[in-house]
Amino acid sequence: MADVVVEQGRVARATGARKGSSLRNTLGRKSTVAFFLTLPLILLILLLVLYPALYSIHLATLNKAMTKFVGLSNFTFLFKRETFWMVVRQSCIFAITAVVFKALIGFIVAHFVHNIPAKGQRKWRGMLLVPWVIPPAMSTLAWLWLFDPSYSAFNYTLSFFGVGPIPWLGDTFWARFSVILVNVWYGAPFFMIMYLAALKSVPDQLYEAAEIDGANWWQKIWHITLPMMRNIIAITTLFSLIVTFANFDIVRILTSGGPLDTTHLFATWAFQVGIQSSDIPLGACVSLFMVPILAVAAIFILRDVNKRGNEA
């Protein structure tokens, strides 16, 4: 039997060359069509994303007037500046703290929403996502007003409890706290929505089976909910890490990096150095320092997204 198959295969292959048949023609046509359909996308990515990204590496090696190649001296200059190391530290503290709290609050809120009767869930979900919908520049203005040194509504309220007044944006610790708070406020609803979608996709039978096996609510979360949501938690967290790390709007509006540059992130400092102080090469240099961290996160996301795709 097997011999026959091989024989047949060889004969067929020998004669197979003659066909230049319809699908191959359409394939030729098809890839031409596909090329034109994707051309605008490719041009956009090449010209407005890839080219500027590579161009910024070139920029980073020029002097301030952009007339002369200075090699890595912009980088070595940065390494010697204390502000730079403060920005590195603050960016990391900011991103990690904010993402952890966003993830935690998102998870907790998603659970509560999932707990209540399905009828009311839509309403609550709709209400709780509002911070994510408002343009961050607009909502940060509201926070700026809430944190106002003389008219802070928070301090007004706290004064009834004998606390404060707190220098929300005037003191290094509180300013750092405030920018993280606003970022958590803005980003936690996104986590909530992602987790809620993931929670809904866990089949009820699993919980029922676990209940029959005698699991309590904590064991159910630990052994069923978290493993089932593992992937979506990973993707959401990594994605949020990128966005938070590269954040600009909140810090720019709330503190502009102050007091004394202690709340600067890479993005806001790059803006200050590159645009406001017109040292474009140095600004490019600062923003390039985001690349390694973004790249690592991106690689992990890509891996998880592909895995998720394969599971589905």
């Binding site: 500027p52 509002v130 911070p131 203005l141 509201a142 003389s150 936690a188 996104f190 600009f248």
Partner: protein, 303 residues
């Protein structure tokens, strides 16, 4: 009443049942309690915007209870909505966002169709590239883009910097990758037999796209449109860098730069402006919440 009756029928089981439902009732009460707490946390800033926007400058500077409006007035709204400058911001934002939505769809839909349905050389790489592009933040590109625009401006003589229309070219870098990505997902979920049926019915690729794919994937299209619009509307960094003249500004930049004049903060107007600036996305969200959320969650799944 009925529980009592059951209680008599078989005591041991009832106790169990009763404790279960009592647990559940308590869990529910706690859920609502915390949900209210979080809702207060999440909704305080927008509500505070509204409260402040209804106050006169005099009431604000009098430092009365900030959480209450004693003499509500619409003067802030009247003033802003009759200010040419503010209307100019609003107009710029609207025009840019609408054009960006159209441009995004014209680029994303054909590309997503090709990537979802026509396996061609490099299609998998391109799809991955699209996703990676989506992960590149604006704060990485604004400096080189600023410089590139300057160079192009010098070379061609076309004014690009400090012109609102340059944003129409730049914003698609933020909207197109994500929209393409989620449209790939929506298109890929359409059964293969549907295009085969269309093929046998005599439809060309283009007809398959316009008459089958776009109508069938309409929910995805709406989600992508909402995303493109809200991203364009909310974008802050690019317009802050690329535009400076008052008549070229978009809403977020306009409000933060012109209403905050030195140390004189007119908070009633700032909050009114912020609220009006937040209104279009909020209104879209209120009416198309399900599409909005579908678009958000679609990003995490592979197309």
């Amino acid at each position: 009443m009925s529980t009592l009756a059951i209680d008599k029928a078989g005591p041991s089981r009832k106790v169990k049942y009763g404790s279960m439902s009592r647990d559940r009732a308590w869990a529910l009460r706690w859920s609502y309690f915390f949900l209210v707490l979080f809702a207060i946390f999440f909704l305080t800033p927008p509500i505070y915007m509204l409260i402040t926007s209804l106050k006169s400058s005099a009431e604000i500077s009098a430092a009365t209870n900030p959480w209450w409006v004693f003499h509500p007035t619409l003067s802030n709204y009247v003033e802003l909505l009759s200010s040419n400058q503010f209307l100019r911001f609003f107009w710029n934002s609207s025009v840019i966002s609408i054009i960006v939505v159209i441009v995004t769809m014209m680029i994303s839909i054909p590309a997503a169709f090709a990537l979802a349905r026509m396996k061609f050389w490099g299609s998998a790489t391109l799809a991955t590239g699209v996703f990676l592009t989506y992960l590149i933040p604006d704060s990485l590109l604004f400096i080189p883009l600023f410089k590139v625009l300057g160079v192009v401006q010098d070379l061609t003589g076309i004014t690009l910097l400090n012109r609102w229309y340059v944003l129409v070219f730049i914003y698609p870098t933020l909207t197109v990758p994500f929209c393409t990505w989620i449209m790939i997902g929506y298109f890929a979920s359409i059964p293969k037999e549907l295009d085969e049926a269309a093929l046998i019915d005599g439809a060309s690729w283009l007809q398959t796209l316009t008459r089958i794919f776009i109508p069938v994937a309409l929910p995805g299209l709406i989600a992508a449109t909402i995303f493109a619009f809200t991203v364009s509307w909310a974008q802050f960094l690019y317009p802050l860098v690329f535009t400076t003249s008052v008549d070229q500004l978009v809403l977020p930049v306009g409000i933060t730069t012109t209403l905050i004049k030195g140390d004189v903060f007119n908070w009633g107007q700032i909050m009114t402006g912020a609220l009006l600036g937040a209104a279009p996305p909020l209104v879209i969200y209120a009416f198309l919440m399900d599409y909005y959320i579908a678009g958000l969650t679609a990003g995490a799944t592979k197309g």
